[in-house]
């Protein structure tokens, strides 16, 4: 890791850095088990741009591996989850976020199911109350005249 940096610095190579997109790291650098776990967690929130809907944590493709490595490096440098997600969002668009942001139109996807649950609950309670006082009819059976065979039998019975 350090050797690569050294080498790259020597060659005056520079790659676009997260700092340009999201500023300085605002969290603490992670290491060891915590680093791995957070990398995994964030990798499951980012969508692999070449796969069909998979998260970068689940995809073996090259692009996904690069992105995961980038996530790990940013965590090592102390970037927060928010910053990392924001960085990828700035390059790829909201498309890359698997969890829709709760803003603007996107908030609807979170609100609608809860609204349906609430409205549905009210409907269920009112329907239950209605059914409690519903008048009871006789069981709806098939009218004899509807069945031509039975009608014929009845005819024959009545004839005899």
């Amino acid at each position: 890791m350090i050797a690569t940096f050294f080498l790259l610095a020597l060659l005056q190579v520079k790659v676009p850095d997260a700092a340009q997109f999201v500023g300085q790291p605002q969290g603490t650098p992670l290491t060891g088990q915590q680093l791995e776990q957070q990398t995994m967690a964030i990798s499951h929130e980012l969508r692999c741009p070449v796969c069909q809907g998979l998260a970068i944590g689940d995809s073996p493709s090259i692009m996904a591996s690069n992105m995961k490595a980038q996530v790990r490096e940013l965590l090592e440098r102390g970037y927060t989850e928010e910053q990392i997600l924001s960085y990828f969002e700035k390059s790829y668009g909201q498309f890359v976020l698997l969890k829709p942001k709760f803003q603007g139109v996107n908030a609807l996807v979170w609100i609608l199911p809860i609204a349906v649950l609430a409205i549905g609950f009210v409907l269920v309670v009112s329907k239950a109350k209605k059914l409690e006082v519903a008048p009871v009819h006789a069981a709806v059976e098939e009218e004899p005249t509807d069945d031509p065979y039975l009608a014929r039998v009845r005819e024959m019975v009545e004839k005899s």
Binding site: G93, Q94, P100, E132, H137, E142
Partner: protein, 664 residues
């Protein structure tokens, strides 16, 4: 020659189904027994033509007749026979033909079973089924014609998609799925018939429910097989990704399950008829939506067939039947008289209502999540994703609520009860719930939702078992001897009840296994050089080396690992990295070591000579999911076996031996 024969059969089926539909609807409107007879004949004819056409296609496939376009697309002389046979449903055109085949069998079967009954409903039902048949025949004859001729005739073909040749599960998953999906057409036809007739009589409730239960069984198993296949073959260690096409298969299952439950209240109390009919219609409509999602190319999914012009056609059909269903419902739903009432909302009946509520919310959430990106793109022109984190966050609470109801619902008695009885029913299972919770905690479960699932699961298991054996206990109390009472209560008269509780038992295990396998899962990504080992989850994994293998359709690199526990070798695992000629990115095939306790899962992330980047996953209880779903299917089948009742056989006038006096 074969192609021409196939095209002829398909055109004939378009004609037969269209004409049959008209005749059947007319017969229903006029209540003509003659018309019904003809409708039945057309139904059988349609089925016969579909079976023949499919037979012709299979024959063309097996004899490698590359003059038929579909065979030229998916056939190959290089693949084994079983691959050739299943390539019937491996690609779009063949799969629609397969759809027609299954539909034909369902229509013929249901018509035959009901040939002497329910004459008031059958014509309308046949008319509806044949209308759907007409649409699919039209698809096969037109936009998705597999029987087009190819000239000049190629010498060989590319074979079906290599991913489909990977695993035996691919043979059963599509037919099961079609048996489930297509089967939803049958109860839809019955529902439409009831609405057109303006009545849903007591004697029709059972056939309606049975016609829904059979495809439900297939669909349940099919969804599980899909998940199992993804788990065994795709390498990311999961079985459900909330992929749009996966969701498409789940949506009708959810509404069908809700309908099966509300149908119980319908049979018992004569209420909720309109609602059950709505759910049944929704189940069918969702299958058409599902087929649109899979074939239109609108959704980004691993399952998508290649884009084709078939999308708009299906969408037009979908729009038409949606409008038809809504208008029919609006016109006739009030005429489905409800005959009864429920005595108290806090009762088993009431819990069925809440159950339906949660199933509907579940369906709505999955539907919204799946189409939301399309909505946003249509309105704002921006792209966004709704992925696994969303669905997991929303579905887990709903699922947990359903598990809660699975316990509390059957515990409550039917009808009105007093407080004392209710507590007597509701409190004891808490002990089992607490025990389950304790066991989980002892094993290290700390996730709040999983602990809750264990509590509710233990509770539900207790209730399910208690209810399952209740009739037997009652008989034993009366003094009956054990064996005959057992057979009678569970396998003879109480079959539907017993089957239902078997399904519930399976469901409880599924809930718990999903919760445990998701939250107690641990994984480690590590790079090993040859000979190097790592220890994870109590096992030591040693990288033995890799080898390359070239097969006609793919280049595989196989890595061999030795897995040992306490120094003793347990197994050798060989995950691989496959580069298919047809695909851009490599696909890994994992190696899975399954035991009762859980699975040990190895998947290659990257492989270069002597260095392997491997993902090791330890997933407890995952295998329980597959078995428990099979149990659910078995329960459904048990409930389906008809109970023999006394039926009155009407002897037609022409029989000479009838003595008028004898009848009187």
């Amino acid at each position: 020659m074969t192609a021409t024969l196939g095209r002829f059969l398909i055109l004939a089926s378009v004609l037969v189904s269209t004409t049959g539909a008209f005749i059947a609807y007319a017969a229903g409107a006029k209540r003509s027994p003659e018309g019904l007879k003809w409708s039945q004949r057309f139904a059988y004819a349609f089925a016969g033509l579909m079976v023949l056409a499919t037979g012709v296609m299979e024959y063309a496939l097996i004899t490698h007749d590359f003059s038929v376009q579909y065979v030229a697309h998916v056939g190959s002389t290089q693949v084994p026979l079983w691959v050739t046979i299943v390539s019937l449903w491996s690609s779009l055109e063949g799969s629609i033909l397969f759809w027609g085949f299954i539909l034909g069998i369902y229509i013929a079967g249901t018509t035959w079973v009901n040939r002497n009954q329910h004459q008031e409903y059958m014509p309308f039902a046949i008319g509806t089924w044949l209308s759907c048949g007409a649409f699919f025949s039209f698809l096969i004859a037109g936009p998705a014609n597999p029987f087009l001729s190819v000239s000049p005739v190629p010498l060989d073909g590319p074979g079906p998609n290599p991913l489909l040749q990977n695993h035996l599960l691919m043979i059963i998953h599509p037919p099961m799925l079609y048996l489930g999906y297509v089967g939803m057409t049958i109860p839809f036809g019955f529902a439409v018939a009831a609405l057109l007739r303006g009545r849903l009589g007591q004697s029709f409730l059972r056939p309606l429910r049975a016609s829904l239960l059979l495809p439900w069984v297939f669909l349940t198993i099919a969804i599980m097989l899909g998940g199992w296949w993804a788990y065994e073959v795709l390498g990311w260690g999961g079985y459900w990704a909330w992929d749009p096409v996966e969701n498409a298969s789940l949506l009708p299952w959810l509404t069908a399950t809700a309908a099966l439950h509300s149908a119980i209240v319908m049979e018992r109390r004569g209420v909720l008829k309109g609602w059950t009919v709505t759910l049944i219609q929704a189940s069918f409509l969702l299958t058409i939506l599902g087929t649109f999602m899979t074939r239109s190319g609108v959704f980004n999914s691993v399952h998508s067939f290649t884009q084709s012009s078939i999308g708009p056609t299906i969408l037009i059909f979908l729009t038409a039947i949606l409008l038809f269903s809504v208008i029919l419902l609006a016109l006739r739903i009030d005429s489905l008289e409800s005959e009864g009432r429920i005595e108290s909302a806090v009762s088993r009946e009431g819990m069925f209502l809440v159950n339906n509520l949660f199933f509907v919310v579940f369906t709505f959430t999955v539907l919204v999540g799946t189409v939301f990106p399309l909505v946003v793109e249509a309105i704002k022109g921006k792209q966004m994703s709704v992925g696994r984190p969303y669905f997991d966050a929303m579905v887990v609470p709903v699922g947990t609520a359903l598990l809660f109801l699975l316990g509390v619902g059957p515990a409550l008695p039917w009808g009105k009860t007093n407080r004392k009885e209710m507590l007597r029913a509701l409190l004891p299972p808490l002990i089992t719930g607490a025990i389950a919770l304790g066991i989980g905690y002892a094993f290290g479960v700390r996730n709040a939702w999983t602990l809750l699932t264990l509590l509710f699961g233990g509770y539900a298991a207790h209730v399910t078992f208690a209810q399952m054996w209740l009739p037997l206990r009652q008989r034993l109390k009366k003094g009956d001897s054990f064996a005959p009472a057992l057979i009678d209560t569970q396998l003879r008269r109480g079959r539907r009840r017993f089957g239902g509780y078997v399904v519930h038992a399976g469901a409880v295990i599924v809930f718990v296994a999903i919760a445990v396998s998701s939250t107690m899962r641990t994984q480690q990504e590590v790079t090993l050089t040859r000979g190097q080992s790592t220890t994870f989850a109590g096992k030591t994994v040693t990288f033995l080396g890799s080898e390359e293998r070239t097969e006609p359709h793919r280049q595989s690199t196989i890595a061999r690992f030795n897995v040992a526990k306490n120094g003793k070798t347990v197994t050798t695992m060989e995950p691989r990295m496959n580069q298919y000629a047809a695909m851009r990115e490599p696909i890994g095939t994992p190696a899975v070591y399954s035991t009762i306790g859980g699975d040990y899962y190895l998947s290659i992330m990257n492989l270069q000579g002597d260095q392997a980047g491997v993902l090791i996953i330890n997933m407890p209880m995952v295998g329980w999911i597959w078995g428990a779903v099979l149990l659910m299917g078995a329960g459904g089948l048990i409930a389906l076996i008809p109970v023999r009742r006394r039926t009155y056989v009407v002897v037609p006038e022409s029989a000479p031996a009838i003595d008028d006096e004898a009848i009187a």
